[in-house]
């Protein structure tokens, strides 16, 4: 099988011709289903109080839509596109080469089917299955444009996803240390960042000049600053969480300077606005990544009288919250700063002991006045399920209610989950009455 970039013949270790053809047959259905899911959710998100500046983000929301077309033209003109499958791959390094980084964690339900055909019931989370299914079916035009995909290995599922994808596309694996509190763990991760740089230099056949990396880091620092300003307005309740999360996720594939401008414009519009739903229960959303258009949980929370005023998702705030802090603008200094930025503040459950996670959640609860935590676990995301147990205890001890919601991408359990979310929000509001 030839890869999308027309590279060398691939050795198929997982796939065969029949599976590849079967997967391709899913392509149109996946595209149609994704487009209709995007439109359905956008319709549910539009309301009277919706800021005008959201129009830009709505127009970019279809992951198979206008941005894919832009990138197709970019590639035709000789541009390079590098995919990544996790929070951990620093976009700054890819962008420093003038290439476009695109993050491909998939939230498209229909795309799980080709992966199920290949793997059977392997107990993987729907995010990994959906991402694999996207590549197998060729449904995502952006993913098909990628010259290479960077796959960090935080969990078993992504570890093997990175391997299976090599049947179809060039993959650069990044070995994630599970223990980050030791010097050995830190050094191993810095080594991975440097080896990513070498892999990209080899692929693009040129050395990266420090000033290019510096410029790229600064571009992302502006994006991170814009996100933090926006987060303050979100905390004040000026915008629904479902909109804020969409904004965060479009940074996965948008032109980052244009994204930053539009976030600034949105913040400008929200500045001075009061809360859109002053009576809503203030919810911190945590747990497994929630990836557009898998908007089941955010919509349920906000349709049931809650408002997501903060999140701790790697697909949400974590994407842009922390700045890269460079002490020395040398190549080495910048790479170390990037390594630290992508690992130290990250509370991915793949780390052990992940003590920062409860601390981070409690800090955010204090900072935002969240009244309860919804901890979402994708079925098959064992590490988040384990962290949920730990989070529940820490929160219980501080009398902060937490609801663990375990769910898949399909909407078969929509009403069951709704009942629980409604009860949770009802409880938070009843607690207000009894304490106030």
């Amino acid at each position: 099988m030839k890869d999308a970039s027309g590279g060398a013949e691939r050795v198929l270790r997982y796939m065969n011709k029949e599976l590849a053809e079967g997967a391709a047959a899913h392509r149109d259905r996946i595209r149609e289903a994704a487009a209709s899911q995007v439109q359905k959710h956008l319709a549910a998100m539009k309301g009277l109080s919706r800021p005008k500046a959201m129009e830009y983000f709505d127009s970019m929301a279809d992951p198979f839509g206008p941005r894919a077309e832009e990138l197709r033209k970019f590639k035709e003109a000789g541009g390079k596109i590098i995919g990544s499958l996790c929070y951990f791959a620093p976009a700054e390094i890819v962008a420093a080469f003038g290439a476009v980084p695109v993050r491909f964690c998939s939230g498209v339900y229909e795309a799980v089917h080709p992966a199920n055909d290949l793997l059977g019931d392997a107990g993987l989370c729907p995010l990994v299955k959906s991402t694999l299914g996207l590549k197998m079916s060729g449904a995502s035009p952006m993913l098909e444009l990628c010259d290479m995909v960077i796959v960090p290995t935080p969990c078993d599922a992504k570890l093997k996803l990175g391997e299976i994808l090599q049947d179809m596309v060039d993959v650069h694996l990044m070995n994630m240390p599970a223990v980050k509190s030791t010097e050995a763990g830190r050094q191993s991760w810095i080594g991975e960042i440097k080896s990513l740089l070498s892999a990209l230099e080899k692929r693009f056949d040129r050395r990266l000049r420090p000033q290019m990396l510096r410029k790229s880091i600064q571009t992302y620092q502006r994006a991170q600053a814009a996100w933090r300003r926006f987060s303050e307005l979100r905390k004040a309740g000026a915008i629904w969480g479902r909109d804020a999360l969409l904004v965060a996720q479009l940074s996965f594939f948008d032109d980052i300077a244009r994204w930053t401008q539009n976030v600034e414009r949105l913040s400008g519009e929200l500045e001075g606005r009061g809360p859109v739903a002053p009576d809503a229960a203030r919810i911190l959303l945590g747990g497994s990544p929630i990836v557009w258009p898998n908007w089941k949980v955010p919509l349920l929370i906000e349709e049931s009288g809650g408002m997501i005023i903060a999140d701790e998702l790697c697909s949400g705030s974590r994407t842009m919250h922390d700045p890269v802090v460079v002490e020395e603008w040398t190549m080495d200094g910048m790479l170390v700063a990037l390594a630290e930025r992508y690992m130290i503040p990250c509370t991915c459950p793949s780390f052990s002991p992940n003590l920062e996670r409860e601390q981070n959640m409690l800090g955010r609860i204090r900072d935002t006045g969240a009244e309860g935590v919804v901890f979402h676990v994708l079925r098959g995301c064992h590490l988040n399920s384990l962290d949920a147990t730990k989070a529940a205890k820490a929160l219980r001890e501080r009398r902060i209610p937490m609801l663990k919601v375990e769910s898949e991408y399909d909407e078969g359990d929509l009403e069951q989950v709704r009942t629980r979310v409604e009860a949770f929000i009802e409880m938070i509001k009843a607690r207000r009455e009894s304490s106030g």
């Binding site: 529940a392 219980r396 001890e397 009398r399 209610p401 937490m402 609801l403 663990k404 375990e406 359990d413 069951q416 009942t419 629980r420 409604e422 009860a423 949770f424 009802e426 409880m427 009843a430 607690r431 009894s434 304490s435």
Partner: protein, 237 residues
């Protein structure tokens, strides 16, 4: 309900379109309680509550916490051993619900599970509660999955294991799962068991044995949610 007294109660089996039968039930209850039609305040709770157009609504989780608080004010934990799920509600000393947990999306440990096992054993569901006492030694049921447990039960029957011992094993398995939920809760104090499965004496005894303490059992465990809804609609005044 009026002035904290239940005037009339009743239960019907749910159907695809509950509004009609529930309307009839409401009519018969108001007649029984001698309340003029239209004078009763109606509050709908439970899975199908949204079908009751025009009625005030409350989730069953909240209703159970209110019902438990009303029936036994010292209740700190109430477990609804329901037909389709097990839910645990924790109450603050002032009766406000502080947290809840559920075991949904799996039928194990529910009334539905016990009904399926009763049918696999060829006994009436009600016998599942009384049979435990007659058991010399509870059978060991290894799996908690409804489908696999059913095949285990069939195997035990084929091996001529007395039905009572199998039932005691099943009740014990349900109890273990409930006790695990109780142990995860942080509230301490009186425990109430409610819901249809709380009418199964075998399950209740097994829970009490595991916990080494007595649980509070309301007179009508299956009515706790309904009473909580009635209390919330003003029935305690």
């Amino acid at each position: 309900m009026e002035g904290g007294k239940v005037l009339a109660s009743g239960a019907i089996r749910s159907s695809m379109n509950p509004a009609g039968p529930v309307g009839e039930l409401v009519a018969s209850l108001t007649a029984k309680a001698s309340v003029a039609p239209g004078m009763a305040r109606l509050l709908a709770t439970g899975v199908g509550r949204k079908n009751m157009v025009g009625a005030a609504q409350m989730t069953d989780i909240m209703a159970f916490s209110r019902g438990a608080r009303f029936l036994h004010p010292a209740t700190r934990i109430v477990v609804d051993l329901g037909g389709q799920g097990v839910r645990l509600m924790e109450l603050d000393p002032d009766g406000t619900m502080a947290n809840f947990s559920t075991n949904d999306k799996c039928s194990t440990g529910t009334g539905c599970f016990l009904d399926i096992m009763a049918s696999a054993l060829g006994v009436e569901p009600a016998y599942m509660g009384t049979a435990s006492q007659a058991a010399k030694e509870p059978a060991v049921i290894n799996t908690s999955c409804t489908v696999f447990a059913e095949s285990e039960v069939v195997t035990l029957v084929a091996k001529k294991r007395p039905k009572e011992e199998i039932i005691a094993g099943l009740n014990g398995m349900v109890a273990k799962r409930v006790v695990a939920m109780i142990n995860l809760a942080s509230a301490r104090g009186d425990l109430m068991l409610a819901g249809g499965v709380a009418m199964n004496a075998g399950v209740v005894a097994a829970i009490e044995k595991e916990l080494k303490r007595k649980a509070i059992l309301p007179d009508q465990p299956n009515m706790v949610g309904a009473i909580g809804a009635a209390v919330s609609a003003g029935g305690s005044k």
